[in-house]
C-alpha cells in the first residue's frame, strides 16, 4: 500500500492538558476514585467527627442526636421536593406556600370538626380528615404548578414563583396573617412524638424518602423522569408524555410539601402563612449540594439525605460553639462551593471528561452546561 507521506522527522509527542504531574494525580486519586455521592458521605462523616471532637459534651450526646432528629425532617422533605422538581429540569419555589396553605386548611378542618365529635375515635377521625385535606390541597397545588409548566409552558421558576405567592396570599387571606391554633392534642404526635426512640417526623421522612427512591429508581415512571429531564425533545419523540410526567412530578412535590407543612404545624402547634420561609433557598442549596443537577436528569435521594445530614451537623455544631448564624450561612455557601470543586478536580483527574463534545442544540444534558 502506497504511503501518502513519509515524514522524515518524528518529533516528541506533545503533551495535552492531561500532562498533570503524576504526584498530583495520585493525590487526587486518594481523595477517592469514588462517585460524588461517596465523596459527600466522606465529607459528612468528617464534619460529624470534627464537631464531635470539638464539642464532645453537647454534640456527641443522645440529647443532641434526638434534637437533630427532630430538626431534620421538615427541611429534608422540602429539599426532597426540590430535588424531584429539579430532575425534570424545573424547580418548585412554591413549596413553602403549599406547606403553609395545606396546614392551615388542616387546622381549619380540625378546629371546626373536633368539638362536634366525641370520643377518641372521633378525634382521630377528625385528625385523619384534616391530614387528608392537607395532602389533597398539596397535590392540587402541585397539579396547578404542573399545568402551568406543561400546558401553558411557563418556565418553572416563574410559574412556581407566581403560584407560591398565590398560595401564601390565600393563606394570608384565610387567616388574616395570624397563627391558627386549635389542633386536637393528639395531633402533636406527628411532630413531637417518638416511636422506638426515633422521632415520629423522622419515621415519616424515612418512609417518604424510601418511597420516592423506589419510584425514581425502580419504576417506569422514574426512568421516564430521568429521560425527560435529560432531553425533553427526545422524550417527546420517544412517545413519553412530557406533560403527564411534569404534572405527576409537581404533584409529588406538592404532596411532599404538604407533609412538611403538617409536620411544621404539629411542631409549632399552629399554622401560619409565614412559617418556614427561610427554608426555601436552604432547600435549593441542600438539593444542589446533594448532587442534583438543576438542569435536569441527575439526582438521587441518597444525595439529599447526606446533604441534609451535613448541613444539620454543621448547624447544630456551630450553635453549640455559639458561632453567629450569619457565619453559618457563610460556611454553608462555602461548603457547597468546596464540594463542587472537589468533585470537579476528581473528574479532571479521570481521563475521560474534559472537552466532552456536547452537540449543539442539546438542551444541557449534563453539568457542562453553565
Amino acid at each position: 500500500m502506497p504511503e501518502l507521506a513519509d515524514p522524515q522527522t518524528r518529533p516528541e509527542p506533545h503533551g495535552g492538558p492531561h500532562g498533570e504531574p503524576p504526584a498530583l494525580r495520585r493525590l487526587l486519586g486518594l481523595v477517592g476514585g469514588a462517585s460524588p455521592l461517596t465523596r459527600l458521605a466522606v465529607i459528612t462523616a468528617i464534619i460529624f467527627l470534627v464537631m464531635s471532637l470539638l464539642r464532645p459534651d453537647p454534640f456527641f450526646t443522645a440529647g443532641n442526636f434526638s434534637s437533630m432528629a427532630f430538626q431534620i425532617p421538615e427541611f429534608a422533605l422540602l429539599s426532597l421536593a426540590i430535588m424531584v422538581a429539579m430532575l425534570t429540569g424545573g424547580i418548585d419555589l412554591s413549596i413553602v406556600g403549599v406547606a403553609n396553605l395545606s396546614s392551615i386548611l388542616a387546622v381549619l378542618v380540625m378546629r371546626h370538626l373536633a368539638p362536634e365529635v366525641g370520643g377518641e375515635a372521633g378525634t382521630l377521625g377528625v385528625i385523619a380528615l384534616g391530614i387528608l385535606v392537607a395532602l389533597l390541597c398539596g397535590s392540587l397545588c402541585g397539579l396547578l404548578n404542573g399545568l402551568c409548566v406543561s400546558y401553558i409552558n411557563i418556565p418553572p421558576i416563574l410559574a412556581t414563583l407566581g403560584t407560591g405567592l398565590i398560595f401564601t396570599g390565600i393563606a394570608t387571606v384565610l387567616t388574616g396573617g395570624a397563627a391558627m391554633m386549635g389542633f386536637p392534642a393528639e395531633y402533636s404526635v406527628i411532630g413531637n412524638g417518638t416511636l422506638l426512640y426515633v422521632p415520629v417526623p423522622m419515621w415519616i421522612f424515612v418512609a417518604l424518602a424510601a418511597v420516592v427512591a423506589v419510584i425514581l429508581s425502580r419504576t417506569a415512571f422514574g426512568l421516564k423522569v430521568y429521560m425527560m429531564g435529560t432531553n425533553p425533545l427526545a422524550s417527546r419523540f420517544a412517545g413519553i408524555s412530557n406533560a403527564g410526567i411534569n404534572i405527576r412530578i409537581y404533584m409529588i412535590c406538592g404532596f411532599l410539601a404538604a407533609v412538611a407543612g403538617l409536620i411544621i404545624a404539629s411542631r409549632a402547634n399552629s399554622a401560619k402563612a409565614d412559617y418556614g420561609e427561610a427554608y426555601l433557598l436552604l432547600s435549593v442549596l441542600v438539593a444542589v449540594l446533594g448532587g442534583t443537577n438543576p438542569y435536569g436528569g441527575v439526582g438521587r435521594v441518597g444525595g439529599i439525605v447526606l446533604a441534609v445530614l451535613s448541613m444539620q451537623f454543621l448547624s447544630s455544631g456551630f450553635n453549640m460553639m455559639q458561632v453567629s448564624n450569619f457565619a453559618k450561612e457563610f460556611i454553608w455557601g462555602a461548603l457547597l462551593l468546596v464540594v463542587m470543586v472537589v468533585n470537579l478536580l476528581q473528574f479532571r483527574s479521570a481521563p475521560a471528561a474534559p472537552g466532552l463534545p456536547r452537540p449543539q442544540g442539546q438542551p444541557a444534558p449534563s453539568l457542562d452546561k453553565t
Binding site: 500500500m1 515524514p7 518524528r10 417506569a220 412517545g239 449543539q360 442539546q362
Partner: protein
C-alpha cells in the same frame, strides 16, 4: 526540493474511558489536495478531526503545519493556520441569525472589536452565493431545517481564506442537487489551491472528488493511497475487513397483504396538502423529494407530533385519531427522527436506558416495580442484534460514534414491536457495512409483516429498499415510481 506538506499528522493517539479512538494515526495533506477519510462508524474520523481543529487535545502525537511542529494547538491557532472545519454537528449558534452564523468567524479572525452590520450581511450574502443557496439572512438558525443548517455551516467554512477545509460528513442532510453543487465547490477549491479533508459514508461521493484516500479501522490507519488505487469493493474491504455483497433488500407488498395505513387528503397549511397513500403489511414505501418538500412535516403529522388542518388517517382499516405520539404508539406506529442528537437520544444517559425507554411499561412487574433484569437483557439483546459497538451498555450514549448512536435509536423502536415504522433518514451518517446491515434489518422487519415508510435523500438506499416510491414536491405528492427505475431516472424526476 519539495515543499513540506500543508498539514502533517504524526502518530496521533487518543483514548476515551476504555475506548482507543485513535491509535498512532499519521498522514499528510499537501496544498490543493482533496483527501478523503474513510472508515466505519466509530473508527475515529470525527475524533481525528476534532484534534486537528484544536477542539480536543491528543494524548500523544503531534501536528505540523508547513513542516513546523506546533506546540500550542487551540481552535484559534487552527483558524490562524488557515484551517476551517465543518463539524458533523454543524456547531452553529441556534440563537443567532444566519448572517451572523456565517460572518462571525470572519469578524473574529479579522480581530475586529466592533461590529459593522452592513459588512456582516454582505459577507454572509457572499457566503451563501458561493454555496448557491438562498436562505433568509435574518432568520435565526434555530428555526432552520437541518439541511439549511448544514448549508449555513458550509457557507461559513468556505468564506474564510482557508488553506484547508475539513468537512465531517457535510452531505448527510443534503439532497442530490445540493450535494452535486457542493462537490463542484470542492473541485473549484482544489483548483484554487485549497486543500480539503473530506469525510463521507456515501462512497460514490468519495470517488467523485477525492485525490487520496485514508482508511481508518478501529482507530488505526489501515490503508492510504490515491483514489485510483481503490475501487468501491476494495475500499469497503479495507473499511470493514470483509466483503459486502451489494444485495437488494427491496420489499413489495404481497398481493393479498392487509392494508395497514391509509392516508387521505391530509393537509397542513404551509407544509403539505392533500396527501393520500396507503401502506400494506410487509411493504417498504419510500418517500423522497427535494429539501423542504414537506416529508418531515408529513412524518411528524403521522406520528402525532404536528396537528393537521384536514384529512384523515386510518390504521388497519379503522379511522385513527392521532393527536400525540402516545396515540400513534397505541396504534402501533413508530418514528425514527432525522436529527438523532436532539430528537432521538438522551445523550448523557446509559445506552441501555436509551434502548428500553420506549418499552419500560412492558417491563413493569408485580407491585408496579421494574423488572431490571428483563430490561438489561432486552437492552443486551438489541445491542447484540444491531451490533452496537460498545464496551458496556451502561456507558452514556454520547460515548458512541454517530452510526452506533443511530442503531440505538433504531433499536428503541424495534423493541416496541411496531406495526408501522416510519424511518426518517434511517442511515444518515452510517457507514457502508452498517448501512447494509440496517437495510437487511429493515427488510427482515418487512418480511415479518411490518409496514415501513422510509424517508431518504439517499437514492441508492431508497431504490435498494423500496418497491414503491412517492416523490414529494412543495408539499404535494407529485409522482409515484416503482423501485425498478434507475438511479439516474429517479434523480431526474426529483430535479424536474
Amino acid at each position: 526540493m519539495t515543499s513540506p506538506p500543508l498539514l502533517d499528522l504524526i502518530g496521533l493517539s487518543k483514548s476515551f474511558a476504555g475506548v482507543r479512538a485513535l491509535d498512532d494515526v499519521g498522514f499528510a495533506i499537501a496544498k490543493g489536495e482533496v483527501v478523503c477519510l474513510a472508515g466505519e462508524n466509530g473508527s475515529g474520523k470525527s475524533t481525528l478531526i476534532k484534534i486537528v481543529a484544536g477542539a480536543q487535545p491528543a494524548d500523544a502525537g503531534s501536528i505540523a503545519i508547513d513542516g513546523q511542529v506546533q506546540r500550542r494547538w487551540s481552535p484559534m491557532d487552527a483558524v490562524r493556520a488557515g484551517i476551517q472545519v465543518i463539524f458533523q454537528d454543524f456547531a452553529l449558534f441556534p440563537n443567532l441569525s444566519v448572517a451572523e452564523n456565517i460572518a462571525l468567524n470572519q469578524e473574529l479572525s479579522a480581530g475586529h472589536r466592533f461590529i459593522n452590520w452592513k459588512a456582516v450581511r454582505a459577507v454572509a450574502r457572499r457566503g451563501l452565493e458561493r454555496v448557491g443557496v438562498d436562505i433568509p439572512l435574518d432568520q435565526t438558525a434555530e428555526t432552520l431545517p437541518v439541511a439549511d443548517k448544514q448549508l449555513v455551516a458550509i457557507a461559513r467554512a468556505l468564506l474564510s481564506d482557508a488553506r484547508l477545509i475539513i468537512m465531517d460528513e457535510p452531505t448527510t442532510a443534503l439532497t442530490e442537487r445540493e450535494v452535486r453543487h457542493l462537490l463542484d465547490i470542492i473541485r473549484r477549491l482544489r483548483d484554487d489551491g485549497v486543500s480539503v479533508l473530506f469525510v463521507s459514508h456515501k462512497l460514490n461521493e468519495v470517488f467523485d472528488v477525492c485525490d487520496k484516500i485514508v482508511v481508518l479501522r478501529n482507530g488505526r490507519r489501515v490503508a492510504a493511497g490515491t483514489a485510483a488505487e481503490f475501487d468501491i469493493s476494495s475500499l469497503t474491504r479495507h473499511m470493514t475487513g470483509r466483503d459486502i455483497a451489494a444485495e437488494s433488500h427491496r420489499r413489495a407488498a404481497g398481493a393479498d397483504a392487509r392494508e395497514l395505513l391509509r392516508v387521505e387528503g391530509l393537509t397542513k397549511h404551509g407544509a403539505f396538502a392533500d396527501i393520500a397513500f396507503s401502506l400494506k403489511a410487509g411493504e417498504v414505501l419510500g418517500i423522497t423529494g427535494l429539501l423542504g418538500s414537506g416529508r418531515t412535516q408529513l412524518a411528524k403529522a403521522l406520528f402525532g407530533l404536528t396537528p393537521v388542518d384536514g384529512g384523515c388517517i386510518a390504521v388497519d382499516g379503522r379511522p385513527a385519531a392521532i393527536a400525540s405520539p402516545q396515540d400513534a404508539i397505541a396504534h402501533g406506529i413508530g418514528y425514527v427522527p432525522e436529527d438523532r442528537l436532539t430528537e432521538g437520544l438522551f445523550l448523557s444517559q446509559p445506552i441501555a436506558a436509551n434502548i428500553v425507554v420506549g418499552t419500560v411499561d412492558r417491563h413493569t412487574g408485580g407491585g408496579g416495580l421494574l423488572d431490571r433484569h428483563g430490561l438489561k437483557a432486552e437492552a443486551r439483546r438489541w445491542i447484540d442484534k444491531l451490533k452496537v459497538l460498545t464496551p458496556s451498555p451502561d456507558l452514556p450514549v454520547q460515548s458512541l460514534s454517530g452510526g452506533n448512536q443511530q442503531r440505538v435509536v433504531l433499536a428503541r423502536w424495534l423493541a416496541t414491536n411496531p406495526k408501522i415504522l416510519i424511518l426518517n433518514g434511517p442511515t444518515v451518517g452510517v457507514d457502508v457495512g452498517s448501512k447494509a446491515e440496517i437495510h437487511a434489518i429493515v427488510a427482515g422487519l418487512a418480511d415479518a409483516g411490518i409496514g415501513i415508510i422510509v424517508i431518504s435523500d439517499d437514492i441508492p438506499e431508497i431504490l435498494g429498499a423500496c418497491a414503491r416510491i412517492l416523490v414529494m414536491r412543495a408539499g404535494r405528492i407529485t409522482d409515484e415510481v416503482s423501485g425498478e427505475v434507475s438511479a439516474d431516472d429517479l434523480a431526474l424526476r426529483l430535479a424536474s
